[in-house]
């Protein structure tokens, strides 16, 4: 049996080679992410409690507080550390521009399954943000997708995100249009909770938390993870009861 170090080394090798031999999936660039219908998607710039900076994707979602961002769990809490107060959502981000300003989080939360076990079947996070520099709430500024849960996993998804790792640059919004549910990842079977979902969409680091949208404007999933040796498959948690509870809790935060 190979020792752990060797397995890690092979993983690193496979990850480094992942893009060398693969054809690009049908990811399309959204040239005007500030346009209606896209402006609810944006980039998250964050810093964790150890001072390490990170970048994710997020979505403005309808809620009573008009200020809710849905993302991945590891974009608010990762490896035992919460993100710090320097957690900013920039909707409609494009080439460094912030057409709607920036929205700073004052509340972040995740599911118990992610918080206590970092269980990928529960890798969902949410944030409640303040107003932008113009005094607008998030939903008033950019609109919002509708949250849904408890649906069949067999959906066709529009997947949005701002992947920044190769071969992407993170400069603007990317979309995998109408990608079908393929099945569940093997590792999902070794964890508790609803099985995750696999879809054929090539995204990379930075796309975490990006929306999986059905019926045009209903968010029914987020990008969570992938394998270094298969960049063409994207995995995300199922939106079930635990995610719905988090949504209802976050939506009431003022």
């Amino acid at each position: 049996m190979p020792n752990v170090r060797r397995v890690v080394a092979v993983c690193a090798l496979l990850a480094s080679l992942a893009f060398a031999g693969s054809a690009r999936a049908a990811t399309e660039t959204i040239a005007e992410p500030a346009a209606p219908g896209f402006s609810q998607y944006g980039v998250i710039f964050g810093t964790d409690s150890a001072g390490e900076r990170f970048r994710c994707s997020g979505t403005s979602v309808e809620a009573p507080n008009l200020s809710l961002v849905v993302t991945a769990g590891h974009c608010v809490y990762d490896e035992g550390r919460w993100a710090s107060r320097k957690w900013v959502f920039v909707p409609g981000y494009r080439y460094g521009e912030r057409p709607f300003g920036a929205f700073v989080a004052h509340w972040i939360g995740t599911t118990p399954g992610w918080l206590h076990h970092e269980n990928l079947n529960y890798d969902v996070g949410m944030a409640v943000v303040g107003r932008n520099e113009r005094g607008q709430t998030l939903a008033a500024a950019v609109g919002a997708d509708r949250f849904v849960s408890g649906l069949s996993p067999a959906q066709d998804f529009d997947v949005y995100g701002y992947p920044v790792a190769r071969p992407f640059t993170g400069a603007t919004l990317q979309r995998c249009p109408q990608v079908p549910f393929e099945g569940h990842g093997f590792e999902a079977f070794t964890q508790s909770g609803p099985l995750d979902l696999a879809i054929p969409c090539e995204v990379t680091g930075g796309a975490s938390g990006g929306a999986w949208v059905i019926s045009g404007n209903r968010i029914d999933g987020v990008t969570s993870n992938g394998y270094g040796d298969d960049p063409l498959t994207d995995y995300g948690p199922y939106f079930g009861k635990a995610v719905a509870r988090l949504y209802h809790e976050a939506g009431r935060v003022r």
Binding site: R6, V7, V8, N119, G170, G183, Y227, D229
Partner: protein
């Protein structure tokens, strides 16, 4: 730049061990075993969120050759009953009836909460029907001995190194790994040889089919010549014994480019003739120092 990269699963990962992770949230583990056809041993294990059927053809607790397959159904369990559907492969509907006998595992130090496992012995009664893919094995039972163990995991502190290597001592070990993943299916091959000792070959496959997770593994040993390489690691030739077939050739050019080709394949339980060579595989050849 966040998007979690899943780690490669270790080649010989024990799936049952994964199921017993602390995240399971279950209070007990239900288990029973029985004989299957064609020389397979069938083991059924249930934790809070999963039930697995494992078919094994190997001898001893540390076999040098053998074949394994785990079918994992992701279902909630209640109490000490086991109820799970494995689709076309079968179904478990068993209730536990304790005999009153209880045994205990060894105590472990530094644990939070319980420091040992307790095993309640008894029989599972009901219905168990199973047939492996393509009928490579089958088993059924309406009454079988089994155990219910608590807790499902111990949370104990461990100290010291689990493994210590002695660089430079004895013959060098040469190892080769190849991996391929496409969508929901992944295949890995590991070969290792130390000096003139027999070579060890391990092939694993992970996949999901509908509501089932499937893990397969074969382990084989061949003569030293079945895994050949040179000190410069410029090539490797693999010709493992059954259930492998054919050969694989790794060539490394002076430029560093590698080619991994040949007819090498393996027959897993329920999945015959799976190719293990070709450009879809990423490879790694190494030698201890």
């Amino acid at each position: 730049m966040r998007r979690l990269l899943r780690g490669c699963l270790p080649l010989t990962v024990a799936v049952l061990g994964l199921l017993l992770s602390p995240a399971s949230g279950s209070a007990s583990v239900e288990h029973f075993g029985l004989g299957g056809s064609h020389g397979y041993r069938i083991s059924v294990l249930a934790v809070g969120f999963s039930t697995s059927i494992q078919a094994t053809r190997a001898k001893g607790s540390n076999p040098k050759r053998g074949a394994w397959v785990d079918y994992i159904a992701h279902v909630k369990q209640g109490g000490t009953n086991i109820e799970a559907s494995f689709g076309e492969l079968g179904r478990v509907e068993m209730r536990f009836r304790p005999s009153g006998r209880v045994s205990y595992g060894p105590r472990q130090r530094g644990c939070h909460g319980p420091d040992r496992f307790s095993h309640r012995h008894g029989v599972f009664v009901g219905s168990f029907e199973f047939q492996g893919e393509g009928g490579f094995t089958a088993a059924h039972a309406d009454r079988v001995k089994g155990t219910v163990s608590t807790p499902d995991a111990l949370h104990c502190a461990h100290s010291g190194e689990a493994h210590r290597s002695h660089p430079g001592a004895g013959p060098k070990r040469t190892s080769f790994e190849a991996g391929s993943r496409s969508g929901l299916v992944a295949h890995y091959l590991y070969a290792s040889r130390r000096g003139d000792d027999p070579a060890t070959f391990v092939a694993t496959a992970y996949e999901s089919k509908g509501r089932l997770g499937i893990f397969r593994k074969v382990l084989a040993r061949g003569p030293a010549a079945s895994f050949a390489s040179d000190s410069a690691l410029s090539f490797a030739t693999l010709e493992p014994p059954p259930p492998f077939s054919g050969s694989g050739y790794l060539r490394r050019e002076a430029s560093g480019a590698k080619t991994w080709s040949g007819s090498l394949a393996v027959s897993f339980p329920g999945a015959p003739d799976v190719p293990l060579a070709g450009p879809a595989f990423r490879t790694w050849l190494a030698r201890s120092w």
